[in-house]
């Protein structure tokens, strides 16, 4: 099959060292943030401060995954906002659920 006349000519480009290094850096950051979360889990007292810290660190991780791994940061601005703006509805969902939840009888 390799000698088929219709086989397209493929030029393999060399690895982009800089890009690959950057990807490993992002992986390192994700690992480090997870490690920090672990430390917080066992050193801080349970409360609003701990929870908000977890939420912030989670959003940081999400930002790196979506921005770098999923490449959204480098996409056309229209696509970037088309994906990001609808996630505001999740905040609406949270507010709506909490509001509805307050009307529920306690289990």
């Amino acid at each position: 099959m390799a000698h088929h006349s219709n086989e397209p000519q493929i030029t393999v480009l060399p690895p982009d060292k800089e890009k690959i290094k950057k990807l490993w850096t992002v992986a390192g950051i994700l690992g480090a943030v997870t490690a920090v979360e672990f430390i917080i889990a066992f050193t801080m007292h349970h409360g609003a401060a701990k929870t908000s810290l977890f939420v912030i660190l989670t959003i940081v991780k999400a930002g790196y995954i979506v921005g770098e791994f999923m490449h959204l940061r480098y996409e056309v601005k229209v696509l970037f906002w088309a994906i990001l703006i609808p996630t505001l509805f999740i905040i609406w969902m949270l507010v709506a659920f909490v509001y509805e939840g307050m009307q529920l009888p306690v289990f």
Binding site: I10, W24, F38, T58, A62, F69, M70, A82, I83, M93
Partner: protein, 255 residues
């Protein structure tokens, strides 16, 4: 469809689909919007978890004094503290941490496969796809163990009130199911099965897709097609699975 070369596309005028305003192919856009809708599904599950949890009383005592009871919501790090082959040793959240690490690593190998695809490097795509598949299978195996441990339960049973034949009785319970649960209020077990199960099924589907991509790479489908965009699209899905796990890890296990 994807065989159509760039030349035939550029002949069309802008309003005939000659250009893509979002700078991405139809397939890639649809993958993004599917993932957006999937994000809503997972948000629904996690927000409901938070609400049901907050409607139950929390454990007030010292962490050392914690025991399982259906009277209050359990502390997650007291439930998930076992590691395979280390029975009886208390290692809170260590196994979940390992699972998180595995999934992050498989995300890295996936993005390296995408990078290799951009360079038309078939051998490198094969290598990194294989590592991604191995990572996914390892994660699923870990989850299978975690589920088994959760279902079988701890060495010492918990006294649980149950409604049997029209009356309330108290009985010893080990482990959990959708009907009865030793760790705390029943919804805790139900949410565990639904949230980690729904995510696990996404991982399972992802492994299937990854295998398909690997197969097509090996058989030279993408070389003949002239681009490796499918690796990119499935890559988006795989990263999303990792992204969801980051949220599950925080809101189910850490908080």
């Amino acid at each position: 469809m994807s065989h159509s070369s760039a030349a035939t596309v550029s002949e069309k005028s802008v309003w005939d689909g000659g250009s893509s305003p979002m700078g991405a192919s139809y397939g890639k856009l649809m993958m993004w919007f599917f993932l957006l809708s999937d994000a809503f599904t997972f948000s629904g599950l996690l927000i409901t978890y938070g609400l049901v949890r907050s409607s139950h009383p929390a454990f007030e005592g010292l962490p050392e004094a914690f025991t399982f009871s259906t009277e209050y919501w359990p502390v997650p790090e007291k439930v998930f503290e076992a590691v395979p082959f280390l029975h009886g040793i208390t290692l809170p959240l260590v196994f979940v941490g390992i699972m998180t690490f595995i999934l992050i690593m498989s995300s890295v190998t996936m993005v390296l496969a995408v990078e290799a695809g951009h360079r038309m490097d078939r051998k490198a795509v094969e290598k990194w796809m294989l590592w991604t598949i191995i990572g996914g299978i390892t994660f699923l195996s870990c989850q299978a163990w975690e589920w088994t441990h959760f279902i079988v339960g701890t060495d010492t049973p918990t006294m649980v009130k149950d409604f049997v034949n029209g009356q309330w009785i108290t009985k010893e319970v080990t482990g959990a199911s959708l009907k009865i649960n030793q760790y705390g209020p029943q919804p805790f077990a139900d949410f565990f099965f639904f949230i980690t199960g729904f995510h696990g099924f996404h991982v399972f589907s992802g492994v299937m897709f990854n295998f398909l991509i690997y197969y097509n790479t090996v058989t030279g489908v993408y070389d003949r097609r002239g681009h490796y965009e499918m690796v990119e699209k499935v890559g988006l899905y795989w990263h999303f699975v990792d992204l969801v796990w980051v949220f599950v890890f925080t809101f189910f296990y850490l908080v």
